[in-house]
C-alpha cells in the first residue's frame, strides 16, 4: 500500500486545496492551513508535503499568471486529482468506521 498512505498533514493539505478550489497555490494554502489549525506552518514543510502528494499522484499542478508581488514569477496552482479525492474518501471512511465503533464509555472517559 506504499504510495497511497496519507499522513495527517498531507490530508490537511489535500483538504485545504479542495477548500481553496481555484485559488490553491503555495501562499494561500499556507495561510489557510495556518489560520485553520492555528499552527505556524513552515513553507518548507508545506512544500515537502505538496511534493509528496504530487509524487503519489494525489494532486496535479499548473502554472498560472505572473504577478508583480511575486517578482514576475508565476503561481503554481494545485488541484486534487481523482485518486487524491479517493484517498481522502478512503481515509474519511476509515475514520468514520472507527468512530462508529468506539464505545460510548471510553469516549466519555476520553472527554474527561
Amino acid at each position: 500500500m506504499k504510495g497511497t498512505y496519507l499522513g495527517e498533514f498531507q490530508e490537511l493539505v489535500l483538504l485545504t486545496i479542495l477548500v481553496l478550489a481555484e485559488n490553491a497555490y503555495g501562499v494561500t494554502i499556507q495561510d489557510e492551513l495556518g489560520s485553520r489549525t492555528g499552527r505556524n506552518i513552515s513553507r518548507g514543510a508545506l512544500h515537502t508535503a505538496l511534493t509528496r502528494l504530487d509524487e503519489k499522484g494525489f494532486i496535479t499542478s499548473e502554472y498560472g499568471g505572473a504577478t508583480a508581488e511575486r517578482g514576475g514569477r508565476r503561481k503554481r496552482f494545485y488541484k486534487v486529482t481523482d485518486s487524491g479525492t479517493k484517498a481522502l474518501e478512503e481515509s474519511k471512511m476509515l475514520r468514520d468506521q472507527l468512530w462508529s465503533e468506539v464505545p460510548q464509555v471510553s469516549l466519555q472517559k476520553a472527554g474527561n
Binding site: 497555490y25 518548507g44 508583480a68 517578482g71
Partner: protein
C-alpha cells in the same frame, strides 16, 4: 497590484536559492517567497521581511529541492565531448579559409612562444641540479663612493667571507673563491693552457658537482692542490691516470698536484670552469709579501666570491640581519667608501638582478622580460584574429546555437563546444608551430655567441608538456570571448531573426582589437627600422681615427718583439704598432689625473701605445709630436692628451699645453708626473653612446699586450693564413686569435643588430598575422554585404566607389593605429631607449613612416582585393536567388 516600494529581497539570498534549487521547482518557490516578502514588507517592515526571506531560503535547502549533483552533468559533458569534437572538426573543415587564417596565424606566433617557453624553462632550470639549491646563497656587495649612487657587485671581499665563516651561525657550509687562476700547464714539452677558480675546501659541500676521484673533504685543503674536470684531465694526461700527477703552471716554481677529478660542470650551471685550485695556493702566494695586506681588506671586493649553504630553518633574512653589524663595523674604518654585503639566492643568479663582476653565466632580468613581453604581443595578435573572426562569423553560427539550445543544450554546453573548437584549432596550430620552432631555433641561437653559450634549447618532456598546456591555454583564451558571447544567445530570438540579435553591438570591440593589432605591428616595424638605423650609424660613425684594414692580434703571453718580427716578414703587413688594448669597443683603462690644483682631479682614460700606433691609426695632431722610439725606460715621463684634457684643466691652446706637466696616478716613487708632448684631436675612444672626456696616450713598452697590423691585401684569406703560419712558428700552444678592428666594432654594436633581427622578425610576424586577420575580415565583409553592393551597383554605383565604400572603414582603423603607434614608438626611442646615448642617429621621417606606408599598402591590398571581387560580381547573379 501594489507599486513597488523599492524594497527587494536580499539579492544574495535570491542567488543562493537560484544556485541550489532545482530549476523545475525554482519558479514556484521563488515566487512564493517573493509574495511573502511583499506581505511581510507591509505588515512587519522591511527589516523583518528581509530576515524572513533569508530564513525561508535557508529552510528550503532540502534534499529534494537541491539540484542533482553536478557530476551527473559532467558525465553528460564527457559523453558530449565526442560530439563537440566531431562538430568542431566539421566546422573547421567547412570554413577552410577562416580555419587556415587562424591556424597559420596561431602557428606562426606560437612558434615564437615555444621558443620563449623553452627559453624560460631552461633559464629556470639553471643551477637546480645542486642538492638543496634553494638553500644556496651568494654574497653580493654594494659599493658606494661618498654619496654617489651605489653600484652592485656579484663579488665580495675575502675578509667578508672569513668574517661570515667566523661570526654568522646557521650556515651549513660556505666557500670563498678567487677567480683568475690561469696559465700554461707544462708537462715537459707538452703544454696545455688551463684556467680555473681558487676555492676553499668546502666546495663540494656547498655545491653538488660530482667528484669522480679523490676525497671531497681534503682535495682542496693543501696549497698547490688542483682538481681537474674530466675533460681537462683527458686533455692534459691523455688516458693516463691523472690522480697524483704533478705539472707546472706558467713560470711558477712549485708544481701543482692533481688531488681530484670531477665531472665537467653541467651546462645548466652558472659556474663553469676547467679546474679548481685550493684557496691555500692563492693565500700562500699573497703571504709571500707580508707588508702587502690589501688582498685581505674589506675594500678588495673585485675578484672574490662567497657562496654558502644555509642550514634548514635559517632564512636569507636571518643571515642578512647578522651581516648588518659586520658591514657597519668595517665601514667605520673608511670615510669615503661604504661597502655593504647582502645575499643573493643562487637560483636568482642567472636571470636575476644586474650585478657587475659576475663569475659565470648571467643575463640580467631584462632579457626575460623582453622575451615575455614581445612574445605575448605576438601571440596576442594571433589570438585577436581568432576572436575577431569568430565574432564576425557568429552570425552564421548563431542559428546552430539556436538549434542546439532548442534541442536541449545548456549554456555551459554551448560554451564548452566553442571552447573545444578553439582548443582544437590551437592544438592543430601547435603541430605546425612545433615544426616552425625547429626552423627558428638555430637562427635564434646563432644570433649571438653569448646566447649559444647560455642556452641549448633542448626538448625535454617537461618543455613538451608546457607546450601542450600553453596551446590549450591559448585556445581557451582565444575562444573565451566568442564562446561566452555565442552561448549567451537566446534560442528564440536567434531562430526568429538572426540579424536582430545583438551581434553587431560587438563591432566596436572588433575595431578596438584590429587597431590594437596594427598599432603593435607598427611599433614593431618602426622599432626595427630605428634599430637598423642606429646600427648603421654606429658602424659608419667617424671615430676620429682610421680602423680600416687594421688587424688586432692578442699576444696571449708571447714575446712581443719576436711576434712583431715574425709578422713583419709577411709582405702584406704594411705597418705594425703595439698597444695595451683597443679603444672604441667598450673597454677602458683609467686613472686619476690632476693638473696644478692638487684637490681637482678627474678620471683619465688611457691606452698604452708605442711610437707606431698613432701614425698607423691616423690620429690627427693639433700640436706637438709623437712619442720617440725608446727602449724600456726607467720611468714613464711623457703623455699625449686629447683636447678635453686641456678644456677640463684650462691649460689653454694645444701649443701652450706642450711641456706642461700633469699628474697621472702614482707609482712606486710617488706621484707620476707626465709631460705633455703632444695634443691630438678629440676622437671617440668610448662607444658612441658615451661622451668624450679626458683621454691620454701613454708610452710603456712593458704594458703592451697586442699588435695592430695594417694590412694591404686583396686576398684576406691568404694573408690570414700567412699570419697564422707566422704565429704557429712561435707558439703551437695557443691558437692564433686575430680580429679586424671593424669586426670588433661591429661586435660592440651587435646588440643593435640583434635587436633589429629579433624585432624585425617579430614585426614581420605581427604584420603577417594582422594582415591575415584583415583578409578574413575583408572576406567576411564582402560576403555579408554582397547584396547591398549588388543593389548599389544596380542603382549606378561605380566599382571604384564601391571599393572605397567597403575599404574606408578599415583604412580608418589603420590611420588610427598609425596615429597611436608613430608617436608611441618615437617616444619609446627618443625618451627611453636612446635617451642617454650621446651620439645617435636622428629618428627621421623615413624610419617613422616607411612602416606605416608598408602596412597601409598591405592593408589596402588585402581589403581592396576582396572588395574589388565583391564589387565586380554580377548583381543579377547575387540578387536572383532571393
Amino acid at each position: 497590484m501594489k507599486p513597488s516600494t523599492g524594497h527587494t529581497p536580499p539579492k544574495w539570498a535570491n542567488r543562493l536559492l537560484e544556485w541550489y534549487c532545482r530549476p523545475e521547482l525554482l519558479e514556484d518557490l521563488q515566487g512564493d517567497l517573493h509574495e511573502y516578502f511583499d506581505r511581510n514588507l507591509a505588515s512587519k517592515g522591511p527589516k523583518r521581511a528581509r530576515i524572513n526571506f533569508v530564513m525561508d531560503v535557508l529552510k528550503f535547502m532540502r534534499p529534494y529541492t537541491i539540484r542533482k549533483l553536478e557530476i551527473l552533468n559532467n558525465l553528460t559533458t564527457i559523453v558530449m565531448f565526442k560530439n563537440y569534437f566531431k562538430t568542431s572538426l566539421r566546422s573547421i573543415a567547412r570554413n577552410k579559409l577562416f580555419s587556415a587564417i587562424n591556424i597559420i596565424g596561431l602557428a606562426v606566433s606560437m612558434s615564437v612562444c615555444l621558443l620563449a617557453i623553452s627559453f624560460l624553462v631552461e633559464i629556470d632550470s639553471y643551477d637546480r641540479f645542486h642538492e638543496d639549491a634553494d638553500q644556496i646563497y651568494r654574497v653580493k656587495n654594494s659599493y658606494q663612493f661618498l654619496q654617489e649612487d651605489p653600484s652592485y657587485f656579484a663579488s665580495t671581499s675575502i675578509l667578508a667571507g672569513k668574517l661570515i665563516q667566523e661570526q654568522v651561525p646557521g650556515i651549513k657550509a660556505s666557500v670563498i673563491m678567487h677567480r683568475g687562476f690561469s696559465g700554461d700547464a707544462k708537462m715537459g714539452d707538452y703544454i696545455v693552457p688551463v684556467s680555473g677558480i681558487h676555492t676553499t675546501e668546502d666546495f663540494f659541500e656547498v655545491f653538488s658537482f660530482e667528484l669522480l676521484r679523490g676525497n671531497p673533504e681534503t682535495a682542496l685543503s693543501e696549497p698547490h692542490s688542483i682538481v681537474l674536470t674530466d675533460e681537462t684531465a683527458e686533455k692534459l694526461f691523455k688516458g693516463q691516470d691523472p690522480m697524483g700527477q704533478t705539472f707546472q703552471v706558467g713560470n711558477e716554481e712549485t708544481p701543482y698536484q692533481v688531488t681530484g677529478v670531477m665531472k665537467k660542470p653541467p651546462h645548466h650551471s652558472h659556474l663553469r670552469f676547467q679546474s679548481l685550485v685550493s684557496f691555500a695556493t692563492y693565500e700562500e702566494k699573497r703571504k709571500e709579501n707580508p707588508e702587502e695586506t690589501y688582498w685581505i681588506s674589506w675594500s678588495n671586493m673585485w675578484a672574490n666570491y662567497v657562496y654558502m649553504k644555509l642550514e634548514d630553518g635559517t632564512s636569507q633574512e636571518d643571515i642578512e640581519a647578522r651581516l648588518v653589524p659586520i658591514n657597519d663595523k668595517q665601514n667605520e674604518k673608511s670615510d669615503r667608501v661604504t661597502i655593504n654585503t647582502s645575499l643573493q639566492p643562487m637560483l636568482a643568479i642567472v636571470a636575476g638582478e644586474n650585478l657587475s663582476n659576475q663569475i659565470g653565466m648571467s643575463m640580467g632580468p631584462e632579457g626575460t622580460w623582453i622575451i615575455v613581453i614581445l612574445t605575448s604581443i605576438v601571440i596576442l595578435s594571433a589570438g585577436f584574429n581568432y576572436t575577431n573572426l569568430s565574432i564576425a562569423r557568429s552570425l552564421r553560427r548563431a542559428k546552430e546555437v539556436g538549434v542546439r539550445k532548442v534541442v536541449g543544450a545548456t549554456r555551459g554546453q554551448v560554451f564548452t563546444q566553442f571552447i573545444i573548437e578553439a582548443t582544437i584549432i590551437s592544438l592543430i596550430a601547435l603541430v605546425f608551430a612545433y615544426l616552425l620552432f625547429f626552423l627558428i631555433k638555430p637562427e635564434f641561437l646563432n644570433l649571438d655567441p653569448d646566447i649559444q653559450q647560455m642556452l641549448l634549447l633542448e626538448n625535454s618532456p617537461k618543455v613538451f608538456l608546457f607546450f601542450i598546456l600553453f596551446a590549450v591555454l591559448v585556445g581557451f583564451l582565444a575562444g573565451f570571448f566568442p564562446a561566452t558571447f555565442l552561448s549567451k544567445l537566446r534560442a528564440v530570438s536567434v531562430l526568429k531573426d538572426a540579424s536582430n540579435t545583438k551581434l553587431f553591438s560587438k563591432v566596436n570591440m572588433r575595431k578596438v582589437l584590429i587597431v590594437t593589432q596594427f598599432t603593435l605591428s607598427l611599433i614593431f616595424i618602426i622599432s626595427a627600422s630605428i634599430e637598423l638605423k642606429q646600427y648603421k650609424y654606429a658602424l659608419a660613425f667617424d671615430l676620429g681615427y682610421d680602423t680600416e684594414n687594421v688587424l688586432n692580434i692578442w699576444l696571449q703571453g708571447n714575446d712581443i718583439d719576436q711576434m712583431a718580427n715574425a709578422f713583419a716578414s709577411v709582405p702584406e703587413v704594411s705597418q705594425i704598432s703595439r698597444s695595451a688594448m683597443i679603444t672604441s669597443v667598450g673597454n677602458r683603462y683609467s686613472e686619476t689625473i690632476k693638473y696644478e690644483d692638487p684637490t681637482d682631479s678627474t678620471d683619465l682614460t688611457y691606452n698604452f701605445i708605442d711610437e707606431h700606433y698613432l701614425p698607423l691609426m691616423g690620429n690627427r695632431f693639433l700640436a706637438g709630436s709623437n712619442f720617440e722610439s725608446r727602449q724600456l725606460q726607467e720611468r714613464e715621463e711623457s703623455i699625449i692628451v686629447n683636447e678635453q684634457v686641456l678644456k677640463r684643466f684650462n691649460i689653454g691652446t694645444p701649443q701652450e699645453a706642450l711641456g706642461k706637466y700633469v699628474q697621472v696616478g702614482r707609482d712606486s716613487q710617488g706621484p707620476r708626473k707626465l709631460r705633455i708632448i703632444g695634443v691630438v684631436e678629440d676622437f671617440q675612444y668610448a662607444t658612441i653612446q658615451e661622451s668624450i672626456e679626458s683621454f691620454g696616450f701613454r708610452y710603456a713598452p712593458d704594458r703592451l699586450e697586442m699588435l695592430n697590423l695594417k694590412i694591404a691585401t686583396t686576398d684576406v684569406m691568404a694573408t690570414m693564413e700567412k699570419l697564422e703560419t707566422a704565429w704557429n712558428g712561435l707558439d703551437q700552444v695557443h691558437p692564433f686569435e686575430a680580429t679586424f678592428y671593424d669586426e670588433e666594432i661591429q661586435r660592440t654594436y651587435a646588440e643593435h643588430s640583434i635587436l633589429f633581427t629579433i624585432v624585425g622578425f617579430l614585426a614581420f610576424l605581427t604584420i603577417s598575422i594582422a594582415a591575415l586577420g584583415l583578409l578574413g575580415m575583408g572576406v567576411y565583409t564582402a560576403e555579408t554585404r554582397l547584396k547591398e553592393i549588388s543593389i548599389r551597383k544596380v542603382l549606378g554605383a561605380s566599382e571604384g566607389s564601391l571599393v572605397t565604400l567597403l575599404a574606408r572603414g578599415f583604412m580608418w582603423l589603420l590611420i588610427i593605429s598609425a596615429a597611436i603607434a608613430v608617436p608611441a614608438a618615437y617616444f619609446l626611442f627618443d625618451s627611453v631607449i636612446l635617451a642617454d646615448a650621446v651620439n645617435k642617429a636622428n629618428i627621421g621621417f623615413i624610419e617613422l613612416f616607411a612602416g606605416v606606408i608598408i602596412i597601409f599598402a598591405i592593408g589596402f591590398l588585402t581589403i581592396g582585393t576582396q572588395t574589388w571581387k565583391a564589387a565586380k560580381s554580377n548583381p543579377a547573379q547575387t540578387l536572383r536567388s532571393e
